[in-house]
């Protein structure tokens, strides 16, 4: 588990997993998409409490290995400002057979999204911004006083 402030390079990360006993590789990437809940997204920012994010991420990866007979798994998450199309998170898993690789990859991304101290702030085309999942965190900020 790593937190990086520079571009994630999924292919280099995939190459780090290579093992001649592996028959299956499943990779997941979360990309910054241009819309969310009907609003046009301009870019976004991840705030990460790195120490605990790494610790909890390592725990998630260990759990995935206990639940599924995989060979290797890793995860890298971005911090900082990201533009549309950038890779925000990468998860890669290798195993002898594909069942386990799919299941473990899915487990890791699901847990990463809900357990790690990582926060996402979306900046919209209309100038508004808001923290995702933070429905009642007072009002979302608005550039224009409306």
């Amino acid at each position: 588990m790593r937190i990086v402030s520079e571009s994630i390079k999924p292919f280099e990360l995939r190459n780090e997993l290579i093992d001649s006993a592996a028959g299956a590789y499943v990779g997941f990437e979360g990309w910054v998409r241009n819309h969310n809940d009907g609003q046009e997204v301009y870019h976004l920012e991840y705030e990460v409490y790195e120490f605990l994010a790494v610790k909890e991420g390592e725990k998630v990866i260990s759990e995935a290995k206990e639940r599924h007979p995989i060979l290797r798994a890793d995860c890298v998450h971005r911090s900082g400002l990201l533009e549309i199309g950038e890779c925000a998170v990468w998860v890669g898993v290798i195993s002898a057979h594909r069942d386990e690789a799919f299941a473990a990859c899915r487990y890791i991304i699901d847990e990463i999204k809900t357990r790690l101290p990582i926060w996402k702030k979306e900046y919209y085309s209309n100038g508004d911004s808001g923290w995702v999942n933070c429905e009642r965190c007072a009002t979302h900020e608005q550039k224009a006083a409306s």
């Binding site: 991840y46 409490y49 999204k113 809900t114 926060w119 933070c134 965190c137």
Partner: protein, 81 residues
Amino acid sequence: MKKKITVRYFAVFREQSGLAQELVTMEADTARDVFHGLKDRHGFGEPIGHCKVAINDELSDWDAIVNDGDTVFLFPPVAGG
């Protein structure tokens, strides 16, 4: 007895409090007491059930005891990935 506690704020809590961290002196048995003792002052709107807490760099729960000198991390709803 009052305790000296370092509180760290993240994301919307950091923005709402205007602070990354502060040293508070307060009556508090649990992490829940710390949260409730600070939420009105800083205008935190999110229900505690949507939030998480860590004490001294360990994820914890709201009923965990806080001791004098502890660092309490207040985490608004997370959104990785």
